[in-house]
Symmetry: C2
Subunit: 236 residues, 2 copies
């Protein structure tokens, strides 16, 4: 009974997923039964840099941060994956070890697809392969841009851009402005951009005083998108 329900859920999830929705019902069902669900508590490590990895995950519920650490313990958050998102494709596709850690930011359910299940479908369906290729290209553009920002821009611009990106990914329009529907400590915000927690604090307060943003119950609300754009593009 529960087994049936779970399978039903998996079918549904795949049918709604941007990558897999275009498959034949037949194929999708085969994938759905083969895929396994996995649950992770808030803060749990899903995989770790260097692990052998031959699976990728789709986020069904919750959020996952992709990050890595320096030798002296600093953290860099490469991206945060929302419900509906995908991560871990790279190791699946090229068979090399994982390049970063994946950590559940909240109670999280994942659908895990193994290389052995996915590869046949990928060779049989070139359109799916192209979709994967697009995802990779997008990631590449994204990390290149991150690199450029890091090398070219000062802390304020970098952080403003990070807020804009967060706005795109997690923003809910509200009466006061764009509300970021995710709770991140100043520490975490700093790790997104490679800036110290203290600097984040100062910028946040400065911008709040200037009316660019507002803090509400620990959530950030972007009040003046234009001003934020100006900071993001200022100088270089």
């Amino acid at each position: 009974m529960t087994a049936i329900r779970i399978n039903f859920d998996k079918d549904l999830v795949l049918a709604g997923h941007f990558l897999l929705k275009h498959l034949e019902r037949e194929e999708r069902h085969r994938l759905a039964t083969a895929a396994r669900l996995s649950h992770h508590a808030r803060g749990a490590m899903i995989f770790q840099k260097g692990d052998p990895g031959d699976s990728m995950m789709a986020v069904i519920r919750g959020r996952v941060k992709i990050c890595c650490h320096s030798m002296d313990g600093k953290e860099l958050v490469l991206s945060i994956i929302n419900k509906g998102g995908l991560f871990g494709e790279i190791a699946l596709l090229d068979g090399e070890p994982r390049t970063a850690d994946a950590v559940a930011l909240e109670e999280t359910d994942l659908l895990v697809l193994d290389r052995s299940q996915l590869m046949p479908v990928l060779t049989a369906r070139p359109d799916l392969a192209f979709r994967i290729i697009s995802v990779l290209c997008q990631r590449l553009r994204q990390t290149s841009e991150h690199l450029e920002d890091t090398l070219f821009l000062e802390a304020p611009s970098r952080f403003a851009r990070a807020l804009k990106r967060l706005g795109d990914a997690f923003g809910k329009p509200g009466p006061e402005g764009l509300r970021l529907d995710i709770k991140l400590s100043q520490q975490q915000l700093g790790c997104l951009v490679g800036v110290s927690r203290e600097s984040v604090n100062k910028l946040l307060n400065e911008w709040q005083r200037a009316g660019v943003i507002e803090m509400d119950a620990g959530y950030i609300v972007i009040r003046d998108t234009g001003a934020l754009d100006d900071i993001a593009d200022s100088c270089g």
Copy 2:
């Protein structure tokens, strides 16, 4: 007569290329006749960030630098493509504008493959698609690592790593050590890592005094790989 010779050359080039050598002779020949050659003088711009791009290039002769510029004129060199290498795949694959500039570092010949020619082959031959996917994964790993280095490491470590990478790509073993078979100004070296020319100069001289490297006729020779590794991995 010349036309025949050029076609012959193109066939040969494709047959020797790591991506395309596994195709049927038939298919490869079709690609070869469709592909066009293009020549670029030293310093010529091949394409520019933001250009629409639906082709990728294989380097037949010479070298190409992939770079981008900040608003205030700083340059970042993302990578240097050797003879036999490939670039411009991303725009071809996802149809978006080019993400960076491509500039010929020397007299350079390219083989240009258009999207319209390549796509049919890609859908027909899943193994080729996988090869492309591997290339993308590799690029992604490379830029991620570049980003990590930039955020986690100080200038000396970063620059040491850059020298090691250059050694892998352009190193010719010689009596004195690993000789970098490429001439780059200190300016260019700086752009590879995001460090000012002056800093590069100081590091270069310091390491030369320490016997880690040696300058010979404008070329860098790595004499003590171990010492360079130590600098690359020191602290964070």
